[in-house]
């Protein structure tokens, strides 16, 4: 626990609240297991003392801004989370002047679960190239030199190398376990449709039946809706109670979008995402 970094966050949060610059701070506090962290909302200056930041602060807090539209809020943002800020700015979901971004030079987040903190960095952190958030109003802890390994998508390549039948069987088994708790959607900064296609009754795309076929339609379409929009925070995989390897879906699309359209989500709030634009001369795989 880097107390110096934490103190910077607490001091900044307290005076933001004292000055009335923001109505609330969205940050992290120690969870009830005493080991990991959990999101925390501070509205009064004294509450700022509960704010912490360490290697268990895995949540992407940016999604909470969507619940506080119209209110000026401060939010603690890691480099990967800052891509979600750019995504929501690009898609007009948040206004830049309504958000005070407390950036954090992130040392990397470890694998956590309830009452458990491992020593190994999460997959997204091992290949994280960002030394500080892409956008911030205040940077706590300064930049963090990264010796990150290159993102080679080796696990995706491995999956692609499998036979069609093996891939089919693998995903049928994974989707078979889905209980449609929709935690992957509820945690995702890119998922904010007022009525999700999975809840539409007219037409009944998915419906309420929790069964392999409906689960497959749900998972396939959910990840495809994030193609070129997923910022790789990997919270969907973390929250899945039945351990479906959702990053194998998101990062497959992330890899293909990079290859086909040379685009990565959340790096630049002005650049239009892949499906919002096109290049006349690009060939892709359908000839002409």
């Amino acid at each position: 626990m880097d107390m110096e970094l934490i103190q910077q966050i607490r001091d900044k949060a307290r005076n933001l609240l004292e000055e009335g610059t923001v109505e609330g701070i969205i940050g992290y506090e120690r969870a009830s297991d005493g080991v990991t962290a959990r999101p925390f909302f501070a509205y009064e200056p004294p509450a700022a003392e509960r704010l912490i930041f360490d290697e268990t602060c895995t949540h992407n807090l940016v999604k909470y801004l969507l619940d506080k539209k119209g209110k000026k809020m401060a939010v603690v943002v890691k480099p990967c989370d800052s891509r979600a800020i750019n995504l929501l700015l690009n898609e007009g979901q948040i206004e830049r002047d309504k958000v005070f971004i407390i950036g954090v030079g992130c040392p990397g987040i470890v694998e956590t679960s309830w009452n458990y903190k491992s020593e190994t960095l999460q997959k997204r952190c091992r290949s994280c190239q960002l030394s500080s958030p892409l956008v911030y109003d205040f940077l706590a802890g300064g930049e963090f030199e990264r010796q990150a390994e290159e993102e080679t998508y080796s696990d995706i390549a491995e999956a692609e190398a499998e036979s069609l039948a093996n891939r089919r069987e693998f995903w049928q088994e994974q989707f078979g376990r889905c209980i449609r708790c929709y935690a992957c959607r509820q945690v995702c900064p890119g998922c904010y449709c007022p009525v999700c296609f999975a809840e539409q009754l007219e037409p009944l795309w998915v419906g309420i039946r929790i069964a392999p076929e409906e689960n497959e339609l749900w998972q396939t379409m959910r990840s495809f809706h994030l193609a070129g929009r997923c910022v790789g925070c990997n919270e969907c995989e973390r929250v899945c109670p039945v351990d479906i390897p959702l990053s194998l879906l998101n990062r497959k699309l992330e890899k293909d979008v990079k290859e086909l359209f040379a685009f990565q989500a959340g790096l630049d709030p002005e650049e239009p995402p892949p499906f919002a634009t096109f290049k006349k001369e690009e060939k892709l795989e359908f000839g002409e």
């Binding site: 309830w114 309420i208 929790i210």
Partner: protein, 332 residues
């Protein structure tokens, strides 16, 4: 009077039961343990400490067809789903057995749910006492215990080279083979657990309905359905018809008070729109509405929601928060 099964006796007995019954037991699935029908005794994870989902899914499956609609030459016939086979639910811990007993109250209350009732009567519950507990367990505060036999037909307790067999009901007795040797050894004392002050909260929670606590607590809630779906005593469901694949059937599926369409009426009116109201409904159903309707608390202290909530909304912490709020309110 306690009987005794060696490990081999137990396997042979389960093998014999497998011949003409469906046996549902905890099975390792990647890093998880899930209750699933087994084909061989070897698949059972005898030493599991918890399952991600509770065994309620055997009696109230995530999705099931209540009846299908057959139309031949204009004449409509409703064909109900029937229970085909007897079953054994093996290896459930006492807290999960209590969860099923609590779920019996709404489903068997007149007019009872016939499908649920048939499954219940044709399934024998063989419990497995807990030898070790996890930090998030608090079953003793909820009227259960690591060795509580009250809601199973047979309770097994693992000892040195086998299992103590505690016969609880006639249904359990009828399943057992003859000539089981009596167990004279010493019954292991169950592990101690933390105490959660739920009794005081039940009587006072009514006053805190409009307390801002709920909106603050709900700030971090994602309103996913994990807590309701993993919970042994959450039984809310939704029903809709399906007419794809050439059949018309009425499907019943799990539903959770946290999902957006839970209390939304067709006309667009929804009595619960804010995050706080929705999250409050979860705790008030468990600690006020269910007790008022069925004189029991709808929580068994299994700790699943504590473990799987992505943002750590810890029901034990909520209970102690409510207690403090009441103490502050009444100035004591």
């Amino acid at each position: 009077m306690n009987l005794f099964f060696s490990k081999d006796d137990l396997s042979r007995w389960l093998d014999s039961l497998l011949l003409e019954r469906t046996v549902v037991a905890p099975v390792r699935v990647q890093e998880l343990t899930m209750f699933q029908p087994i084909s061989k005794v070897g698949e059972i994870a005898f030493d599991y400490d918890y399952t991600t989902l509770s065994p309620k899914g055997w009696f109230l499956p995530p999705s099931e067809t209540l009846f299908s609609v057959q139309r031949d030459d204009g004449q409509v016939e409703l064909v109900p789903t029937l229970v085909e086979r007897d079953a054994i639910l093996f290896g459930l811990h006492p807290c999960d057995a209590r969860g099923i007993a609590l779920m019996d109250k709404p489903f068997l209350q007149e007019p009872g749910d016939a499908l649920y009732r048939d499954r219940r009567s044709r399934t024998a519950l063989i419990g497995l006492a807990c030898r070790q507990v996890r930090p998030e367990c608090f079953c003793t505060s909820m009227g259960s215990a690591p060795d509580d036999p009250s809601d199973v037909d047979i309770l097994l307790t693992e000892v040195e080279d086998g299992y103590i067999v505690q016969v609880v009901t006639e249904k359990g007795k009828a399943l057992l083979p003859q000539g089981l040797v009596e167990y004279k050894g010493e019954v292991p004392t169950p592990p101690k657990l933390q105490v959660v002050p739920v009794k005081e909260v039940i009587s006072t929670i009514k006053e805190l309905f409009n307390d801002p606590y709920w909106e603050q607590l709900a700030d971090r809630c994602l309103h996913c359905n994990i807590c309701a779906y993993v919970c042994p005593t959450c039984y809310c469901f939704d029903m809709r018809d399906y007419s794809d694949k050439g059949k018309v059937e009425r499907v019943r599926s799990w539903e959770s008070c946290q999902s957006s369409g839970f209390s939304l009426t067709a006309g667009g009116y929804d009595p619960r729109t804010t995050k706080g109201e929705r999250l409050r409904q979860r705790f008030y159903h468990k600690f006020l509405y269910f007790p008022e309707q069925f004189q029991d608390v709808a929580c068994v202290g299994c700790g699943r929601c504590v473990r799987d909530c992505p943002v750590n909304i810890d029901i034990r912490e909520v209970i102690s928060d409510l207690k403090q709020l009441m103490e502050a309110k009444s100035g004591s």
